[in-house]
Symmetry: C2
Subunit: 482 residues, 2 copies
């Protein structure tokens, strides 16, 4: 006989003993809540011991291992050696802090195991609900479409594809980008993912022209207008401009109203890379600085940064939903739509982006927005900007320190005068006290504090400043033996 009577038990991966599993799962949840609750007692970051790293160079095991043992390995070898962005002392790059609410919501999503590619299911209604809120936040019309993606790198790319389809027609999907004389614009301070989008789309990064920035690191809009004029004269076809709402290096916000005006006059697609800054719309005292964002053709941003949703949760909003759909929709027999039952509900999210398998990023975002409400999320955002101003004031008070860029939002670039800032940043990271990152500002290597985490408080700013001064002094006295 081909099948034993007890065939169900032979292949299922469900626990044989649900009670035992349940106990273990609760231990895991307790440990993880404890981690978040007491994260301040830990170093922000610590070096990975070589033997820990070596433990993760095993060959594939054929045999099972108990969940409790695997969890022990996780607690011992993985949890202590993360980047540290849950910790209030983390100010490197631009990482959100996450929340316990996002954590449990993600557990629910993993249990449901929903694929948000399509089909008629409430998880897609949850994504549509979040999309409606996003439209509301940015003052977009009902006909605007939205989609979760991994992050703004993908969202910028999706926006470029929609702009390409708008400019070249749907035929480009069949024929590709040929003999093109297209050109596009972003500021010198734009994120690398804008140029990457042109690489990924087969247009080549040379298609993107960089507009100089003013002393506040904002796009020089007069030069932009001049560049467009000259490029047209030389036979190129300008079609796309990406403004930045919160540049990665300094947090500068381009003049969105003026860029919108130029884009409108010149017939360019107006995209806003708001990875860092767009959600400042939730903070009433910062929102006016984003004036003009409501005129964008597309906006890319991340809920996992200022939105504090756990990684990853990027988002693209497109003004003309139908244009967006016709950039990606295809007709495959195995994805046939029907008027009723499971295959109803067309269009599906897979018609609006490259992903057919898509996790339920919307749930952790929906929980975050429902539980905290827009107001508290906005206060957390304002709070990080206030802390950046506090850090600025502390830097200006310390004679050994210098401010290296204007503080526009929540990012502060500074340094120890005449010091080796790379060495200082690495030393502070290794100390576990704080975790700034570094960048180049006007050919100078700067220590960069991006304050994104809702847990960060004045004491963390003080600890960073004190550490920079102490490490700087110690290095300049040659105590580090370099």
């Amino acid at each position: 006989m081909l099948f034993a009577d007890n065939d169900r038990m032979e292949t299922t991966l469900d626990p044989q003993d649900w009670e035992e599993f349940r106990k273990q799962a609760h231990r895991m949840l307790d440990d993880m809540i404890g981690y978040v609750e007491h994260v301040r007692d830990r170093p922000v970051w610590q070096p990975i011991p070589e033997e820990t790293r070596a433990n993760f160079r095993e060959s594939l095991a054929q045999r099972p291992m108990s969940l409790s043992r695997v969890h022990e390995i996780f607690m011992h070898d993985v949890l202590p050696y993360t980047v540290g962005n849950v910790h209030p002392g983390f100010m490197g790059w631009v990482h959100g802090g996450g929340t316990p609410v996002g954590m449990v919501a993600e557990m629910l999503a993993a249990g449901l195991n929903a694929n948000l590619g399509g089909r008629d299911q409430m998880p897609i209604e949850v994504e549509k609900q979040v999309t409606a809120w996003v439209r509301e936040i940015f003052g977009f019309p009902e006909t605007a479409s939205g989609l979760f993606l991994t992050g703004t790198s993908m969202a910028n790319y999706v926006a470029l594809l929609v702009a390409r389809r708008a400019f070249l027609g749907t035929d480009v999907r069949k024929k590709g980008i040929r003999d093109h004389r297209l050109c596009a614009y972003a500021s010198r301070s734009a994120h690398g993912s804008i140029a990457q989008a042109f690489d990924l789309a087969g247009m080549g990064t040379d298609t993107l022209k960089f507009v100089p920035v003013n002393e506040k690191f904002e796009m020089d809009v007069e030069v932009l207008a001049e560049m467009i004029r000259k490029d047209r004269e030389s036979g190129l076809s300008p079609f796309f401009v990406a403004a930045t709402a919160g540049t990665v290096d300094t947090g500068a916000i381009d003049n969105l109203e003026k860029i919108a005006e130029i884009a409108e006059a010149e017939g360019l697609w107006f995209h806003v890379d708001g990875a860092l800054g767009a959600l400042a719309m939730l903070a009433p005292e910062i929102a006016p600085r984003l004036n003009g964002i409501e005129l964008a053709d597309s906006i890319a941003f991340d809920f996992h940064k200022w939105g504090q949703v756990p990684y990853d949760a990027g988002f693209i909003l497109v003004r003309e939903g139908e244009l967006h759909r016709s950039t990606f929709a295809a007709h495959e027999p195995y994805l046939m739509r029907e008027g009723k039952a499971l295959a109803a509900g067309s269009p599906w999210p897979c018609d609006f982006g490259p992903d057919l398998s898509r996790g339920f990023r919307a749930l952790k975002t929906w929980f975050t927005i429902k539980v905290y409400g827009a107001e508290r999320l906005g206060q957390a955002i304002s709070g990080t900007c206030e802390l950046a101003r506090y850090l600025e004031s502390r830097i200006l008070e310390e004679p050994e320190l210098e401010l290296l860029a204007p503080v526009s939002l929540n990012i502060v670039c500074f340094g120890y005068r005449e010091g080796d800032n790379a060495e200082i940043a690495a030393g502070i990271q290794e100390s576990g006290i704080a975790a700034p990152s570094t960048t180049m500002v006007k050919d100078k290597l700067a220590i960069r504090a991006a304050i994104v985490n809702h847990r960060t408080a004045r004491e963390d700013i003080d600890a960073l400043v004190d550490a920079v001064v102490a490490f700087g002094n110690s290095l300049s006295r040659g105590e580090n033996g370099e």
Copy 2:
């Protein structure tokens, strides 16, 4: 004074009362474990009541709502109305069933809130560990590189970009695809994401030529060789062939050895789309049918299908890691690498793909492989193929039913003779008994059962067959009043 002394409490999104949060979180975990444990007692799928849908058309709330209330809404309005792929009766499209282990692992990942874009952190070592296992599974060399992505749609696209860079050099990243006479091949049964990749990459879908299939729905390799010859004669540059290990419609496996041989002789990039079938390498009695996969230049597949990892967890494996890296790596000042501390550990995952913000997909995959071991995962895969053969035998026994394609792996295409199979499939879905999908096989609409879930057992197959016969009989007697 700008900052109150108790500023920490003003903006943090952490619970004021951790004990209360902890209790609520445990309730949520219990509910979710209960859902998975008792999923068999639920309908596979059920229609969404209009009032439930309407509840998700609220405007953005400014004020908070308690986590327990938001969870209640989730339990009442979302959880009962999913696609149903956790349920053993779900056989639509190709969806994995998930596991409770994957669920709790994802909760840990969300608590850590790791961004796997880069930096020196153990989560990246976990991803490297899984990559090493993947290399081992497919017999790839140490120099091969791997990366988690959302799904195979993205993985196929990444593979195409690496192939493009291999054929055209790194200059293509700057200059784009211009005046190209490239051409590429996949079978008529290939997944739509292969053609989509050519659209996304700016080459246009016309670049992809479809090779006819034989009676087993496998690529006709003699025609492939002939097409390449003719295309070269007409001045085109063939550079890429995508074989399929498990086609979406029928589960057919292309002749990988023969395609590898042709690709080698003709200097083509040999890609395998193994979204559905690649992990059959874990099942010793099926693995030999994938012979030749070890010769691929790149393999794309999903852990969230046969691997039973919760959504989403796609993967790309590339034989030449350095080629892969040089397709994506860039030099940005804010992503500077250092020899020590947080910015060490280069190259980073962001150097191998389009994502800079990347969640910790590796953790749920690592937990799944560690806890179950390769052998049990392979048995679960074998089990679904055995069930497909059982379904085939049941269809052949029923005079009203006809088999519409050979059963190659875990997918069965069949129908009610002279019946409206779309109507039958929708009726069964609405009944909640089972959830097959539909597709076109040789111009005939087929009911398609893709058996992917480790929970599915013979009783679920019997229920599907009985339901198709019953709905078919009832419809042909005109009882449904259509």
